[in-house]
């Protein structure tokens, strides 16, 4: 759950504005890298993966208030550039149905996009040293650990704004200390996250293994270490 369900107007303007700027820059870079690619293959794959991510995100594991993201799957299948575009589409659609603020679309795209990019990179770096399931699962856990750290960092940096709105209510904020307990938030995010990472890793590993067995051409570009998807299938 490494995207933020923070309402509009809670984070400082500079932070969410920076989120949009970074999103626009990375999006521009991604589209530049994709400029020569075949749209007939890209667009359906992008639509399918984004839709599956949306379906996955709308299924909540109730006791944990956790939902799977499948961003690492998207990163592995789409590659980093198209994976980032998918992250933007998913966040845009989620904001349209009230699943997170509109002003945090930039930061959320940044977080989910980072998952897609890191997931793809780590999956590729792990190479053939691990069976396919464990390769995808390990990449997922490492990716989610890093992006949860990013999420906590954003919340820590955002301490300024709630102070501003609390001053209007005359609450004490404890000098330099902001009203959000970063430790408490980190404890919650890492506590829930640790369970969530395992669930997400197990699902990602199983999904990637299934795809390698049933439709290996979807994975061909990341199973290139051995020259073909078939070898990846054998590794699983």
């Amino acid at each position: 759950m490494t995207h933020m369900h923070i309402p509009d107007g809670v984070l400082p303007v500079w932070l969410w504005a920076l989120g949009f700027v970074v999103m626009a820059l990375v999006m521009g870079l991604s589209l530049y890298r994709l400029r020569g690619a075949d749209r007939r293959k890209q667009v359906p794959l992008l639509g399918a993966l984004s839709a599956v991510m949306l379906v996955a995100m709308s299924l909540e594991i109730v006791p944990l208030a956790y939902h799977i993201n499948l961003t690492v799957v998207a990163g592995i299948l789409l590659g980093p550039a198209l994976g980032f575009v998918a992250a933007f589409i998913v966040n845009f659609m989620l904001a349209l149905i009230g699943h997170g603020g509109i002003t945090v679309i930039g930061l959320n795209t940044w977080l989910l996009g980072a998952e897609a990019v890191l997931g793809h990179t780590l999956f590729s770096l792990l190479g053939k040293r691990l069976p396919l399931f464990w390769r995808a699962a390990t990449a997922t856990v490492l990716t989610l650990m890093i992006t949860t750290g990013l999420l906590i960092g954003i919340v820590a940096v955002s301490n300024a704004n709630p102070v501003a709105f609390l001053e209007h209510h005359g609450h004490e904020t404890g000098g330099q200390e902001g009203p959000i307990s970063v430790e408490r938030f980190a404890f919650m995010a890492l506590g829930l996250g640790a369970v969530g990472w395992i669930i997400e890793a197990a699902i990602t590993g199983a999904v990637v293994r299934f795809i390698a067995q049933v439709k290996p051409d979807l994975l061909r570009h990341v199973l290139h270490a051995g020259g073909s998807a078939k070898k990846g299938q054998e590794a699983s």
């Binding site: 999006m27 589209l31 839709a51 379906v55 699943h99 709105f165």
Partner: protein, 235 residues
Amino acid sequence: MIDVARIDYWAASGSGAFHRASVLAKLIFVVLVVAAAVLSRNAQALAAGYGILLVVAAFARLPLLRIAMLSLYAAIFAMLYGISLRGVGLPVYGLVIFKAVTPALAVLMLIVSTPYPRLFSLCSAVLPELPAAGLFMTYRTFFILLDMMNNFIVALRFRAGLVRGHIVKAVANIPRGIAMLLVAAVERSSRLYAVMAVRGYSGSMAEKEPARFARQDWLPLGAGAVVLILVIAWK
């Protein structure tokens, strides 16, 4: 599961004042309400703004109860964020909740009164071709997936894949189901894109949504302006 199919039905079938307003005016309405949420320092002011939106939704014959309930979905996550606030009173928790639900309600009023092709057509005027085409394909594929997922769950039940008391078996089937959905979604999406390409689709909508105002725009523009002015004035 968020009922996007129902939202699509409301958007396509309604004929109230919001349905007749231009997409541009409704987008400005959302921007005004989001600005109100960003600027608000007072839970009561934003609660009043939320109330005004409910009245406008009722006047515009939007599915009031359903969109009010859907907007509360945003409150669940706002409460999770609220837990991490410390040393604050109820007014601040209230403010966080209304900062979540008020823009959510505005966005829901937009999407239950605007068919997606019109919305995406206007979006494609400002977005690059690939994300705009991706948005449209995602939306279409999402509906196909919803249908397939229902069939998949029925098939699983028939084959005893989802039986109470057999948690391990059920859990093991979930990733397979997701993977199967993914493979099927890619195939359906490719076929859909091919059909659209044959019909002349080349990355942009055949019919462009005109970015101009209509006579019925007074309602969304007026409602958005009232909420923003209320929040600024109520300090």
